[in-house]
C-alpha cells in the first residue's frame, strides 16, 4: 500500500513537449509510472517517448482515462493549466513549477476546493510511492520500498533525508513534497492523516523548515496519532528577517522560529533529529518501541 498514488495511477503531463516536461516524462516512464497522455496546446498529434500528445486536457480525457495530472509549464501559464485540468475532472494535481504568483495559487486552491480535488505544490518535486509510481522530478535511484512515510516542505532536503533512510536500510511507503511556497495545496496534516490510515505505513518522517506555522499545526494533529513521528527541521542557523530561498522560509515578527517548531513537535511526542544522519537511527528506535508496546 501507499498513499495518493500507486502502480495503477494513470497520469497525464501538462507541458509535455517542453524541455523539463520531456526529460521528466522519460524519467517517470523509466520508473514505471503510467503516463497515459500529454497536453501541449498546438502540439496535438505528436508523441513524446511514445506518449500521445493532445491539445487540451478535455481532449486527452476523451481518449484516455486519467487520475492525476502533473504541470511542467512556466509560472505565468500555471493558473490556466491548473484550472483546465481541475475543470476537466482531474482529482490529483501536482504543480512542479516555482514562482507561481500567489494570487494565482489562491484562485487555483479555491477552485480545487469546489472540485474536491487535491493539489500538491506549487514549487514541489512531487510525490513517489517507491517501487510503484512517481509523479515529479525526484531522482529515481535513492528511494526504496518500505514502511516509512515521508512528508516534506523542501525538495532536495527530502532527497537528503530519504537517502539517509535508504542508506540505513529503511524503505519508504510514499514520499510527498508539499512545496516551498507560502501557499500550497496539501498540508502536513492532510498527508499525515493519509499515512495514519495507510496499513503499510508504520512510522512517518516529517521534514520541515523555519517560517510559517505549518509544523506547529502538524504537531497539534500528531498528538492524536497512533503512529510514531520523527522530524528533521532546517534553518536552525538562519537569521531572522531573511528569506532563505523558499518564499515561506522566513522568521517574521518573532514567528516561525526553529525553537518554536522543535518545542511544539517535541511536546507532541515527536523525536526531533539534530542532524540529517540521526533520522535513520531515530526511526529504527521508534519502530522498535512501537513493536514493544504492541508485543511486549
Amino acid at each position: 500500500m501507499s498513499i495518493i498514488i500507486n502502480e495503477t495511477t494513470r497520469i497525464i503531463v501538462q507541458g509535455i513537449t517542453g524541455t523539463q516536461g520531456q526529460f521528466h516524462t522519460g524519467q517517470m516512464l523509466a520508473y514505471g509510472s503510467k503516463i497515459v497522455g500529454g497536453v501541449s496546446p498546438g502540439k496535438g498529434g505528436q508523441e513524446v517517448h511514445g506518449v500521445p500528445v493532445f491539445d487540451t486536457v478535455e481532449e486527452a480525457l476523451l481518449v484516455q482515462q486519467a487520475d492525476a495530472s502533473v504541470i511542467f509549464v512556466p509560472a505565468k501559464l500555471v493558473k490556466d493549466c491548473a484550472l483546465e485540468s481541475l475543470d476537466a475532472g482531474i482529482k490529483t494535481l501536482v504543480i512542479i513549477t516555482e514562482h507561481v504568483p500567489l494570487h494565482d495559487t489562491l484562485e487555483i486552491m479555491a477552485f480545487s476546493e469546489k472540485k474536491q480535488a487535491e493539489i500538491i505544490g506549487p514549487n514541489t518535486y512531487g510525490l513517489i510511492s517507491p517501487g510503484q509510481s512517481k509523479i515529479g522530478i525526484m531522482p529515481n535511484n535513492i528511494f526504496t520500498p518500505g514502511e516509512v512515510g515521508v512528508v516534506a516542505r523542501s525538495g532536495t532536503l527530502s532527497y537528503e533525508i530519504v537517502y539517509q533512510l535508504t542508506s540505513a536500510g529503511i524503505g519508504q511507503s510514499s514520499v510527498v513534497g508539499l512545496g516551498g511556497d507560502r501557499v500550497v495545496g496539501m498540508s502536513f496534516i492532510q498527508v499525515l492523516e493519509k499515512f495514519e490510515a495507510d496499513p503499510k505505513t508504520q512510522a512517518v518522517v516529517l521534514v520541515g523548515e523555519i517560517g510559517g506555522n505549518a509544523e506547529e499545526e502538524a504537531a497539534h494533529y500528531i498528538k492524536g496519532m497512533r503512529k510514531p513521528v520523527v522530524a528533521f527541521l532546517a534553518g536552525k542557523s538562519a537569521p531572522p528577517g531573511k528569506r532563505m530561498g523558499h518564499a515561506g522560509a522566513i522568521i517574521e515578527r518573532g514567528k516561525g522560529t526553529f525553537e518554536s517548531k522543535v518545542k511544539a513537535l517535541t511536546a507532541a511526542g515527536v523525536s526531533v533529529a539534530n542532524l540529517p544522519w540521526e533520522v535513520g537511527p531515530l526511526v529504527k528506535q521508534v519502530l522498535a518501541q512501537g513493536s514493544e508496546e504492541i508485543y511486549g
Binding site: 523539463q20 521528466h24 505565468k76 514562482h99 507561481v100 504568483p101 500567489l102 494570487h103 495559487t105 489562491l106 484562485e107 486552491m109 479555491a110 477552485f111 469546489k114 518535486y125 522530478i137 525526484m138 531522482p139 535511484n141 516534506a152 516542505r153 523542501s154 525538495g155 532536495t156 532536503l157 527530502s158 532527497y159 537528503e160 537517502y163 516551498g180 507560502r182 501557499v183 495545496g185 498540508s187 521534514v207 523548515e209 510559517g212 506555522n213 505549518a214 499545526e217 528533521f232 532546517a234 534553518g235 536552525k236 542557523s237 538562519a238 537569521p239 531573511k242 528569506r243 532563505m244 530561498g245 523558499h246 518564499a247 515561506g248 522560509a249 515578527r253 542532524l275 540529517p276 544522519w277
Partner: protein
Amino acid sequence: MKLYEYMAKEILQNNGIPVPRGAVFTGVEGVEAFIEKTGPVAIKSQVLSGGRGKAGGIKFATEPQDAISKVQALLVTEIKGCQVERVLIEEKVSIEREIYLAITIDGAKRKPVLLASIAGGMDIEQVPEEQMIKRFIDITIGLQPYATREVTRQMGLKGREAQQIGDIMLKLYQVFRKYDAELVEINPLVVTSTQVLAADAKMTLDDDAVFRYLPEVPWVEEKTAVEKKAADLGISYVELDGDIGVMANGAGITMATLDLLQHFGSSARNFMDAGGGSSLQATAAALEILLSTKPKALLINIFGGITRCDEVASAFVQVKNTLDLKIPVVIRLIGTNEDLGTAILKEQGIESFKNIEEAVTKVISLQNGGGANVHNYQ
C-alpha cells in the same frame, strides 16, 4: 517587494482611499512653502522597517523653521540600519478614532483575509486577539459589501461611519487584487469629524507577479549589489557574515548545510540556492559571486534531482580552469548522474564526497589550515 509609505499612499489615493495632504522631500527646499499651506505637520522618515515611530523617525512641527531643522535632522538619521533618504511631510489630522485595516494572505487557510480592529494606531502585535476581527475571503467571489457590513457590525460601528469604513474595505480589497499584493495595511485609518483618512500605509507586492505589475508601480531595491546580481541570474542568495562560501541546490538543503557548518563550529558566508539550473554560465556566475565575498573556503553541496551532477562537475572544472581559485573547495555530489560527475572531477584530480558529514567536516578542517583529521568530529 515592500513599498515605502508614500508610494503605498499614492496607490491608495489613486484607488479612491483618501490620505492626508502631503509631499515627499529629499532636502529642505519647498518645506516652508508647504507648511504655509497646511499648518501643523507630521514629518515622517521613509524607511521600510517597522517600529519607525518608536525609533524616533516621526516628528511634529508647527513653525516652518522648526520643520526645516527637523527635516535636516531626520535626513541624516539611520533607523534600524537604514539611512533615511526621504521624508513625507503631511498635514496633521485631528483624530477622533483610529482603526486598523489590512488584507493579507493566510497560508494555512489558503485564502485572502481581511483583518479589522477598532484598536488601531498601536503596534498590531499588541492588539488583543478578541479585538481583531478576521474575515476570510473566497477569492472566486471577492470581498462583497455584505461581508463588510458584518465586519463593521462586529467592530461596533454604526450608521455613516460603518458605511464609510465598509467602503474603504472594498477599495482596499480592490487594491490588494489589482496590484498582486501580499499585504495592504492601513494603520491607523483615522476618522475625523469630516472624513476618513489612511494616516499610515504599508504595501508588500508579490515578487513572483513582477511580470504583470501595473506600469505605475514604483521599483524599490532592497537587495545588496551582490544579492541583486544573483537574483538576475535566478539564484537565491542572502549575505551572511561567516567564513565558508556555500553553494547548494534547493532551499531546504542549503539551510541544512548552513546548520551543519554551525553545528561543527564554523559558519557560512552566505545562503546560495543555485536552484535547478546547472549550466556552465550559471555555475560560473554563481562561483564568481561566492569568490567576490572572499570566503576562507567553499563548500558545494549538490543533491541532483532536476540538477544533473555531471553538468555541475563539468561546469566547475571549466570555471576552475579560468578563475584563479586560491581557497580550498570541497564538493559533495549525489543523485542524478553522480557517477559521471564524480568521474569528471576525479580526472581533474578533484576529490568529491558522497557523504554530507564528510564533506562538511572536510571543508571546516581545510578552512582551519587542513591539519585536522576529518573523522575526529564524530
